[in-house]
Symmetry: C2
Subunit: 367 residues, 2 copies
């Protein structure tokens, strides 16, 4: 049962489910506003634990720990969309969980997500549900080739995905997704990837950042740059998509929508890929190029506080420091226009996001 949003006072406590770098940056932003945080995560080495006094090291089904966590928090939020629904169901009668139930419900299920988007008149790639291996061949007739098989639930950073270039790969794809209920999507021949990172306040106000242009490699975000190389009209369309989604969900907090740009010039159009009901890697540049970062914005929204301005005061290129990339930190720190953010993770693994660097340059015209 969602409660009516109310305004927290400084000194109130934000409960954060998940202890990764997003939780860490949320906690740091909350601190700057005089709010306390309590971070809940099963991993004792969680980087977000380093930046707060109150932590729970517990599994997401530990009801005693969840109950203590809820009693200490005034509002609960999360840094990842795959919070088990049973966890949220347990917490929700105890404390407001924001963003709300329907946002999580949709973001956790690719089929619901695409149906929801299509229902709002937002273009999505053709897709078909896949429940068994035998569903793939007929689905390919709808989507064409190449196509992407994605698990219906629990996919992120390209995990649980397989790109089919030929129909004969059906079995390999089915095995790659662990024979889990899936969705087969047409592969979108995009010219660019962008995203919209925006917030909706408890008062219904909506505020979007400029859409970044994103570059993925091995299905992990490597770089986001603003302005994106798109027309002002397309940027406005992206914002409109974010607004429609946020309003339809009665959303409170920051959300991101990944969008594909297809076509060129006047034929450009946007196809929605997925919704992240949380702060997003493609919004990290806001920490250095905007007065109010996506992290502060999310905290303001869930605290029932007014949203801050989203105007950009610089052009920016944000690069993730993935795995051994982080070893360049001494060079990066010496660059005068680079803002370096390190996540304090103890172990460097290939593919692990260890930090990011945002390079700033004077605001360009247009964009």
């Amino acid at each position: 049962m969602a409660r009516a949003p109310r305004r927290l006072s400084p000194g109130a406590t934000i409960g954060i489910l998940g202890g990764g770098q997003l939780g860490r940056m949320l906690a740091l932003a909350a601190a700057d506003l005089g709010l306390r945080t309590h971070v809940y995560c099963p991993d004792p080495d969680s980087p977000a634990f380093e930046v707060t006094r109150r932590i729970s090291i517990a599994e997401y089904d530990d009801e005693d720990a969840l109950d203590r966590f809820a009693r200490e928090a005034d509002v609960i939020t999360y840094e990842f969309e795959n919070v088990p629904s049973a966890t949220v169901a347990f917490l929700r009668p105890r404390r407001p969980v924001m963003p709300g139930e329907n946002a999580l419900d949709i973001a956790q299920d690719r089929r619901k997500e695409k149906t929801f988007l299509r229902g709002l008149g937002i273009a999505v790639a053709p897709f078909r549900p896949v429940r068994r291996l035998a569903d793939i061949a007929p689905a390919l007739k709808e989507t064409g080739l190449p196509a992407v098989l994605k698990t219906r639930r629990l996919g992120y950073d390209g995990k649980g995905q397989y790109i089919l270039r030929e129909a004969s790969e059906a079995r390999a794809a089915w095995q790659a997704v662990g024979e889990a209920t899936s969705v087969l999507e047409a592969f979108v021949p995009f010219t660019r990837e962008i995203s919209i990172v925006a917030a909706r306040g408890a008062d219904g106000r909506f505020a979007a950042y400029d859409p970044p242009e994103n570059l993925h490699r091995d299905q992990i975000l490597r770089r986001s740059r603003v302005p994106a190389r798109i027309s002002a009209d397309l940027a406005a369309q992206a914002e409109s998509i974010g607004r429609k989604i946020a309003n339809a969900l009665g959303y409170v907090g920051v959300l991101a929508v990944e969008l594909f740009v297809v076509g060129e010039d006047s034929d450009e159009q946007l196809i929605a890929n997925e919704i992240a009901p949380r702060v997003h890697n493609s919004g990290h540049w806001t920490m250095d190029a905007c007065r109010v970062s996506q992290f502060e914005q999310h905290i303001r929204a869930i605290a029932g506080w007014p949203l801050g301005p989203t105007a950009r005061n610089a052009d920016a290129v944000m690069d993730n420091l993935i795995g051994a990339d982080v070893e360049t930190w001494p060079t990066l720190l010496a660059e005068p226009n680079a803002a370096v953010h390190l996540y304090g993770k103890r172990q460097t693994h290939p593919g692990r996001k260890m930090g990011h660097v945002t390079r700033l340059s004077p605001l360009s015209k247009g964009g």
Copy 2:
């Protein structure tokens, strides 16, 4: 025994003596660079405790606690200059304490401080030591009236000060400073107050922020604004004073020097008031108007990392939120050009610094 500066790696731990808002903002800046912190403070309600996982609630003479603190830290710093010298003497053989011994030694003793400044050719107000009541009358002959009696040690925010407007106030002044060894200073008829906030790196590099113009009320800083309404020449002199002091002390970290401007126009000159061997309230605007704040700069310096740029990208007016001022937070949060920073203090007292707000405007020419 000071050890040679060395370069910390991300993941290293900065020990911070003192748990107030300066320690808190240092800890937040360290976290953004992937460094851990351990905050040591006797007050269990210290605001800096809220933003780190490692805390020591212990007195400054608790050798067991200090020993544990030192063992967990890679370098130790402090947020206030009145750290007991016995505490530093205990810690120094165990871990590097930065800024170094001579900076603390001078900053803790007004007489040494003024002698040091004068020795560097930096103008200070005429002063005389006062050890007993009977010293005041002859000292007034040197300083003239009005004059300020200040305790030699442990003064901040105007505590331990008395302004004499007539010689007959000698006894009242002596009682007001608790009959402690003091310094009588000529009252400086300043036209403005400014400060220089600057850093010296472990490599000897020096970098100053633009000098803010400061407004005190009841001997507490209320407002800092950049640019100060001073000539470019005077700003360069202020920077030069900071550089001389930092170099003479072999300083590593951020320091501030409070300066009086006397005279007008071409007769303007600077008189040094006092040195703060730490981040400083008059540098808070750097959090929002510079790429690298004074807090990040201090952490970079003591970590043996390169200093960051100090250029300003906006004009700024920083107002402290003192006591009940903080109750205006909802209005401040709704101001589009205001960056609000709250310290998370549980109790509001008159005169207590509860937060600050920096209002930004486009960079003006000159300054």
